[in-house]
Symmetry: C2
């Protein structure tokens, strides 16, 4: 199982945003591209992968590659799935997730509660990490990435409470969705060795 | 210089399409993601790269990383640049390009005329190619990729007229924009060796 956790620091926590302006909705465009990069490949879906979008530490939406339906690669349709999830946010009580569309669930809570469920080690994809070419890919990866913002001090504190390793994917700092694509490639090729 | 040529087989050749439905506009969403993957990284632009979108073998729009302005990572704003370019298509005469917004030019012609200008060798990113891990990255890459469709027989014939090498990036067939991200990573890390 590959788990990808994306921190959306400005992300909306209510459905009152326009699909015509995803960048204006707390850069939801970034998060939508992360879902596509995490779950879709050419004419197929990564059934062994889940993408979790942490929305401003308030809600987390999980897209499960094994069960998601109606997931298309474009940003707008993924944004619509996020909006549909947020429309049902009142139904998420305590830590119980609610399925808001097939294979998409929403729950209350942010990074700490997500990592408690995911298990360790956690791999933080970060410019200041160990070069990916120098370490083997994790067996059951739990990747954490930030959106267009740097990690916040609260994120750092949460990550310190878990067994977190920092990995640098390359010499060029990438967008979050690009980093997900390269991280998948790292795993697909067993550390850039099997093509 | 890195040149990325994306073949948009169903792409629009006139500006009468809705930014609210880029997938319905001949999968223009695919092409927009390719521009972002080709030119943008975290908080920066790849000034040494140009992305050329071949629209149904009729027009080619070139986004030049060294001079493009107002390029944002979301699909919709890139789709708007494509629409603006197509609105000026009548001004492109013969093979002369017309600048339709800063750093964006449109010209008549498809793959053959693009490759005549780009030079050789051409690197076709394709599932059936030589594994990227087994060959050095090209010095002055001219990458060619297809959109969501396979190459057409006319594309194959054109590519045969040039010194074209096929390279396979990994064991999983990727979306065109994902392939561009991995191809950049291949170059950035000098064949997956420098992190």
């Amino acid at each position: 199982m590959r788990t990808i956790v994306v921190l959306g620091h400005d992300a909306p926590t209510s459905p009152e945003f326009s699909l015509d302006d995803l960048p204006g909705a707390g850069r939801l465009d970034v998060l939508c591209r992360c879902v596509t990069a995490g779950l879709l490949h050419s004419h197929g879906i990564r059934e062994d992968t889940a993408v979790m979008l942490v929305l401003d530490e308030t809600y987390t939406i999980r897209f499960d590659g094994g069960s998601v339906r109606r997931l298309n690669p474009d940003e707008r349709s993924t944004g619509a799935l996020v909006r549909t999830a947020l429309e049902q946010r009142e139904e998420a009580v305590g830590r119980m997730p609610v399925e808001t569309s097939p294979g998409v669930t929403l729950r209350r809570g942010g990074l700490a509660s997500v990592l408690e469920d995911c298990g360790e080690p956690v791999t933080l994809l970060h410019e200041a990490g160990t070069p990916a070419g120098d370490v083997p890919p994790p067996e059951e990866p739990v990747f954490v990435l930030s959106d267009h913002h740097d990690l916040q001090s609260e994120d750092e504190a949460t990550l310190e409470a878990f067994d977190t390793r920092r990995v640098r994917l390359g010499p060029v700092a990438l967008h979050a969705d690009q980093a997900i694509t390269v991280a998948h490639h790292w795993l697909d090729t067993d550390g850039f060795t099997e093509f």
